[in-house]
């Protein structure tokens, strides 16, 4: 790089010379030495020499010289050369120099050192001295350095001095003191707890600058602590904003004749936090928000900045329709602006808003389409983000196509990772326009995402294939398609395919190629074998390929080929690969063993796995008796390593030998344990997969796909999910139509039409009927299908479990439940519960679906030993209904006898609430673990008489079978030791800024999963729960950094795993 530097600086000597001849030269003498340094650096080639140059000349130096040298050192650091030898001198300079040198010293310190640098301790005394100085500038410098960089442990030493400065007569000092305190709050919130009232004083300071500074603190406090503690300040903030907006501040604060814009933005941000989900507080700010919107008329960047902040606030707080209308108009201003920056913000605002109001996206659909073709990739990406938010079952294929197009052009790694994740999520969420589409999309993802994408994408995909969807036939079809497409891929050139993709291919072929009739395993083995010839493929992929081969060598022909390949690797240096090869040979020889370990896919479910590895007990106890160290799972070893230097906070009997089954597959990363070992030690939670590929890390992976579809349903997508499948094909059909039409138009019209078509396919399924629909036929299709599906027979309405999906799907004939009904649901329905159920914990009554005259709602009641589902059918029409028949069926769940008596009911109704039905399930243990999740969803689907997704959101299934287990800490300790099965995992806490992460996390878990919090000690919390059947599970949580380490123990093998999954979900949803 030195030659580049040189170019810049060739002009230098001349400049310096000319400066020398000027009167200001004296002032520049320091600079000219820097200049000579700069010059010499340009002539250097190596970094070392650079350091030499910065090295101060030997001998005594005056602070003045030191200052010059320090500036040189700063310059060197800036160039990227390390000048660590000068750090100590920087501190010395700050300590000893006069004011001027001090400034350079402080500057150098704040530039060189980081927060936890040891040398910082040496600075504390200097700072103390300067804080007490009578020279304002020294005090200012000290406060600046304190707010930039200060050791955490030393805060108590300077805190009183900084506090005093809050009452200083100079406002600049007060202002800096406030920011210094803010810094203290950031790094050690506990230590400034006692001065919160002083913050209030700063907020009321007569100098607006000090007040502005204090807003930083309040924004942070409100964000981190509960907003409710600061609701009383809303009034003050509103008043301040009113004054600012009204121009009451001195003219000094104007920027381009806008009064204190940054202050306004800060206030708006605070108001947004305060008014969030709080109607009363929100009402206080409506007026001033309206005023802000009105005032922000001038056409300057900074007014748009305020406007944008204002929009965000309006959409965050409790909605008020008038304001929303105005805000929507403002969003239009942004989106339609020719300025690219504003357009970007407009798209951002739309993305933010679109979940609440999809109609807004419809209004701007043409602009959005234009942005899709914009030359700026950032704008394009933002548009895709927006589209991602409005995706539903009907437009998914178009949107995914757009995203893939973008991905093919993008080279930025971050964008690729992010977008590939999103495409995969969408594809898994809506895998049907058709299976072919799904497979093709996933293939595109794998080949584009390559090896940078998140590892859980291929894992999820494989699991999806392995577990399958609802019907066996569809599963078979899907797998067959996958096999077909991969076989044809293997025929072409495979050298360009990413490793992950090759792994997926080999796994799928190994697992499912038997589904394709007429395909010889030997053929597959041969093709896989060709993969191995390529030098570019990694050892890991080779392992996958060999694993696939071992599954395929059923016939002697295939075996022969496979062994030939494997033989090459039996002497390979890589142990994982060699083991794989040796296993293949062994399994090939022993047919019995092979069928036991690697049965055909269908038979995998019956595979019995001794997950506790009890057959090894004798071996272990022998080894222990001989003095071997007890086994520690890797996570524990790792933790011990990381905690070596700090105190050990793990209280509960860690010294005991930890059970063997604990970590099993979750921690094992290498494929060495494939096949034989993995199928024996595997956790039985997901036997089919475990047996085949232990690289699938299932426990930690967010589960996004269930039998009903995507689990964390978004409101916007629910409607779409319930649509008739036929209408889902509408967009693609539309496109086909449009293509044929286009030929007849002239080019301009054609382009326009193209965009309109694109718009209609992108925005289909959004909003209500009043939304402008550019292509009529799509709507036509929808209403056709719905009108057929709804049987309306006068006053008699038949509600049948299997039919309701169509009933609720059509938006046309549906009457919105009147507010009266809603109120009725809240107040009236629960009172209809039988006396035995009244006092119990129950979920909210939720409306599942409604027709013209009937409405169906349900709630779950958590009885001590059962889950009772209370179903309410109510009449929402004015007239009375003569007869209602109701059919409840459930295949997957055993409905107890009590329910069967209700299965067909006919009776007369004329009252508001028709009847209530109570279905009592005594949940068996299985519902929580082993196939638990799937089963829970299974019955929900049938019982909620309609939109599965709606019902699903009532509460997570886990809480249905969990009950709190009241224990004391001592009891807990005893039980903890006695339980053998445990699982441990670190979960990411999303909200880093929360003050008490642990408590927030525990509360979330408690609420979502019905756990009992036994005790909280410092950064650790212990909780207990039991299943309905009375089997306990203990949790131990511990926060460090942004992570929550959860450790679960239970006497039942799979319970911890299963509960861990739910914990993870609860934390994520929080």
């Amino acid at each position: 790089m030195s030659d580049v530097v040189e170019k810049t600086l060739t002009a230098l000597p001349g400049l310096l010379l000319s400066l020398d001849s000027q009167p200001g030269a004296a002032k520049l003498c320091a600079t000219s030495r820097l200049g000579s340094l700069v010059r010499s650096i340009t002539e250097l080639t190596s970094k070392n020499v650079g350091e030499e140059m910065a090295e101060p000349p030997a001998g005594p130096r005056s602070p003045k010289q030191m200052k010059e040298i320090m500036v040189r050192a700063i310059y060197c650091e800036m160039l990227g050369y390390e000048a660590s030898f000068s750090y100590i001198h920087a501190i010395k300079l700050a300590q000893q120099g006069s004011v001027l040198e001090k400034r350079v010293g402080y500057l150098a310190v704040s530039l060189f050192l980081h927060e936890s640098h040891d040398l910082l301790l040496l600075l504390v005394n200097t700072v103390l001295k300067d804080l007490q100085s009578t020279n304002l500038i020294e005090v200012c410098m000290a406060l600046t350095v304190v707010s930039q960089i200060f050791p955490k442990d030393m805060i108590p030493a300077v805190l009183p001095l900084v506090e005093d400065k809050l009452t200083h007569s100079k406002e600049i000092i007060r202002r800096k003191a406030v920011l210094a305190l803010y810094k203290f709050y950031l790094i050690a919130p506990n230590q400034v707890q006692h001065i919160h009232d002083k913050f209030r004083k700063a907020l009321c300071d007569k100098d607006p600058g000090v007040m502005t500074a204090s807003l930083h603190i309040y924004l942070k406090l409100i964000k981190v602590c509960l907003a409710s503690n600061y609701k009383d300040l809303t009034d003050s903030f509103v008043t301040i904003l009113k004054q600012v907006v009204g121009g009451k501040l001195p003219v000094d604060f104007n920027y381009h004749s806008v009064p204190a814009p940054w202050l306004q933005m800060q206030l708006l941000r605070i108001l947004a936090l305060l008014g969030k989900e709080d109607q009363r507080t929100s009402e206080m700010m409506y007026e001033v928000l309206d005023e802000s919107l009105r005032r922000a008329e001038i056409n300057h960047n900074i007014t748009y900045a305020i406007l944008y902040e204002c929009l965000k606030t309006i959409y965050t707080i409790h909605p008020k329709s008038e304001l929303l209308e105005k805000a929507a108009k403002c969003i239009g201003k942004f989106v339609l602006s020719p300025k690219i920056n504003l357009k970007y913000l407009g798209l951002k605002a739309l993305t933010y808003v679109v979940q609440q109001d999809p109609n807004l996206a419809l209004q701007h659909q043409m602009t959005i389409i234009e942005c899709l073709d914009h030359s700026d990739p950032i704008i394009k990406r933002e548009t895709l983000e927006l589209l991602y938010r409005i995706t539903n079952g009907q437009n998914v294929s178009v949107i995914v196509e757009k995203m893939l197009d973008f991905l093919r052009l993008s080279k930025d790694e971050y964008t690729t990772i992010d977008l590939v994740g999103k495409v995969a999520e969408l594809a898994e969420k809506y895998p049907f326009p058709c299976s072919v589409w799904f497979i093709q999309t996933m293939n595109a993802i794998f080949s584009i995402g390559g090896d940078v994408m998140q590892p859980d994408i291929p894992n999820n995909f494989l699991r999806l294939l392995a577990e399958g969807f609802d019907s066996d036939e569809e599963d078979r079809q899907l797998r067959l398609l996958a096999v077909d497409s991969y076989l044809s891929l293997l025929e072409c050139d495979t050298s360009g395919l990413p490793q992950r993709f090759l792994q997926v291919i080999s796994w799928v072929l190994g697992e499912f190629s038997f589904l394709k009739e007429g395909l010889e395993p030997a053929d597959v083995v041969e093709r896989l074998g060709k993969l191995l010839d390529d030098d570019a493929i990694t050892t890991e992929t080779r392992c996958w390929v060999l694993a696939a081969m071992s599954k395929l060598c059923g016939s002697s022909d295939a075996l022969c080929k496979a062994e030939k390949v494997a033989h090459k690797y039996t002497s390979c240096l890589d142990t994982a690969l060699r083991q794989q090869a040796v296993e293949l040979e062994l399994l090939g020889r022993d047919v019995d063993l092979r069928t036991r370990v690697l049965p055909q896919h269908g038979a995998r479910n019956q595979l019995e796995v001794d997950s506790s590895l009890s057959f090894l007990d004798g071996f272990v106890s022998d080894a222990l008796a001989r003095g071997a160290a007890p086994y520690k799972p890797p996570h524990q070893r790792q933790e011990e390593l990381s905690q070596e230097k700090i105190l050990n906070f793990e209280p509960y009997g860690l010294s005991l030998p930890v059970s063997l089954s604990a970590c099993s597959l979750t921690d094992r990363q290498s494929p060495t344990a494939l096949s034989l070992s993995s199928s024996l030690s595997g956790n039985s939670a997901d036997p089919p997969l475990k047996a085949g590929s232990n690289l699938l890390k299932l426990e930690g992976v967010k589960r996004v796909w269930g039998k009903q579809g995507y689990l964390p349903e978004k409101q916007a997508t629910e409607e779409a999910l319930a649509q008739e499948p036929s209408s889902i094909f509408a967009p693609s059909h539309q496109q086909a139509c449009s293509e044929s039409q286009q030929t007849t138009f002239s080019t301009i019209v054609e382009q326009d039409q193209e965009k309109r078509q694109l718009a209609s396919s992108l925005f289909v399924g959004l909003g209500s009927q009043n939304a402008p629909c550019l292509v009529r036929t799509v709507a036509q299709n929808l209403s056709d299908s719905t009108s057929e599906a709804v049987p309306a027979v006068g006053n008699t309405e038949v509600v049948e479990a299997s039919e309701v999906s169509s009933l609720s799907g059509g938006s046309g004939p549906l009457a919105q439940p009147s507010s009266q009904v809603e109120r009725g649901l809240e107040s009236d329905l629960p009172s209809r519960l039988p006396a035995t159920l009244v006092g119990l914990l129950r979920s909210d009554v939720e409306e599942l679906c409604s027709g013209e005259s009937l409405s169906l709602s349900a709630c779950k009641v958590f009885d001590a030993d059962a889950l009772v589902l209370a179903i309410f059918l109510s009449n929402i029409s004015d007239s009375s209904i003569q007869e209602v028949s109701c059919l409840i069926s459930s295949e997957q769940l055993k409905v107890p006898e009590m329910c069967s008596t209700f299965s067909v009911l006919s009776f007369y109704l004329n009252e508001f609430v028709l009847f209530s039905l109570f279905v009592c399930f005594s949940l068996c243990l299985n519902h929580l673990y082993s196939e638990g999740v799937a089963q829970c969803q299974g019955w929900e689907e049938h019982l909620n008489l309609g939109e599965a997704s709606l019902y699903h959101s009532v509460s997570p299934p886990a809480s249905c079978s969990c009950r709190p287990l009241p224990l004391t800490t001592e009891e807990y300790g005893k039980m903890w030791l006695s339980f053998s099965h445990d699982v441990k995992q670190n979960l990411m806490l999303l909200k880093h800024e929360e003050e008490d992460q642990l408590e927030a996390a525990l509360t979330a878990l408690k609420e979502k999963l019905c756990l009992h919090i036994v005790d909280v000690i410092g950064a650790e919390g212990i909780m207990a729960c039991q299943l309905v059947s009375g089997r306990p599970c203990l949790l131990h949580c511990h926060t460090h950094g942004g992570m929550l380490a959860i450790w679960l123990r239970s006497p039942i093998a799979d319970l911890p795993d299963c509960l861990l999954y739910h914990c993870q979900k609860a934390i994520q949803e929080r």
Partner: protein, 182 residues
């Protein structure tokens, strides 16, 4: 060339300002991420320079997080003045347009302090640039946005600098001439 401020380790609002010269590779004056190693810093600068420099004139001034600057939480906001790029890295809660104008204020202030600021001023008065920035952004939070106020503060310090030299009796006359010229 990168001139800039380091947001220190304050999570909420990390920002650094860089001045990227089209000729030289990027270098930093002040750096943002806590405990980043030297190499990491250089890598971030390079990446940032790479991202920013290849953008056209007629695209937006915002860049969303690369992996190096901390993913989607952070964004780059830059402004291009002739051969200089001023780049701020801020977290997602900051207002984009607000920061754009903050850069404008910063540049205008530099312009006033150096009288027609040019690249060389920024190279040779690294410390002054930092001091100006410290008046505007302190500990990662925007402290002062009023240009006159910033200049007053900076001038107060400069004056002190001069008076100090004066008391030392070094080239008194030159200094006086200089300060009058100001």
């Amino acid at each position: 060339m990168v001139a800039g401020s380091r947001p220190t380790s304050c999570r909420n609002y990390r920002c650094w300002i860089e001045r990227l010269n089209h000729i030289t590779e990027s270098k930093t004056l002040k750096f943002a991420l806590e405990k980043t190693t030297e190499d990491m810093e250089q890598q971030i600068i390079r990446e940032t320079f790479h991202l920013v420099s290849k953008r056209d004139e007629n695209v937006c001034n915002f860049l969303e997080g690369g992996l190096l600057i901390g993913g989607s939480d952070n964004k780059l906001i830059y402004r291009h003045y002739a051969t200089l790029y001023f780049v701020f890295c801020v977290d997602s809660s900051e207002s984009e347009l607000g920061i754009l104008d903050l850069i404008q204020v910063f540049v205008e202030t530099l312009d006033k302090c150096f009288e027609n600021v040019c690249e060389l001023d920024l190279i040779f008065h690294v410390d002054k640039v930092h001091n100006i920035l410290a008046e505007m952004v302190m500990g990662g939070m925007v402290l002062e946005t009023n240009m006159n106020e910033i200049i007053t503060q900076v001038d107060a310090q400069n004056k002190m600098e001069k008076s100090e030299e004066a008391t030392l009796g070094m080239r008194v006359s030159f200094v006086t001439v200089y300060s009058i010229a100001r």
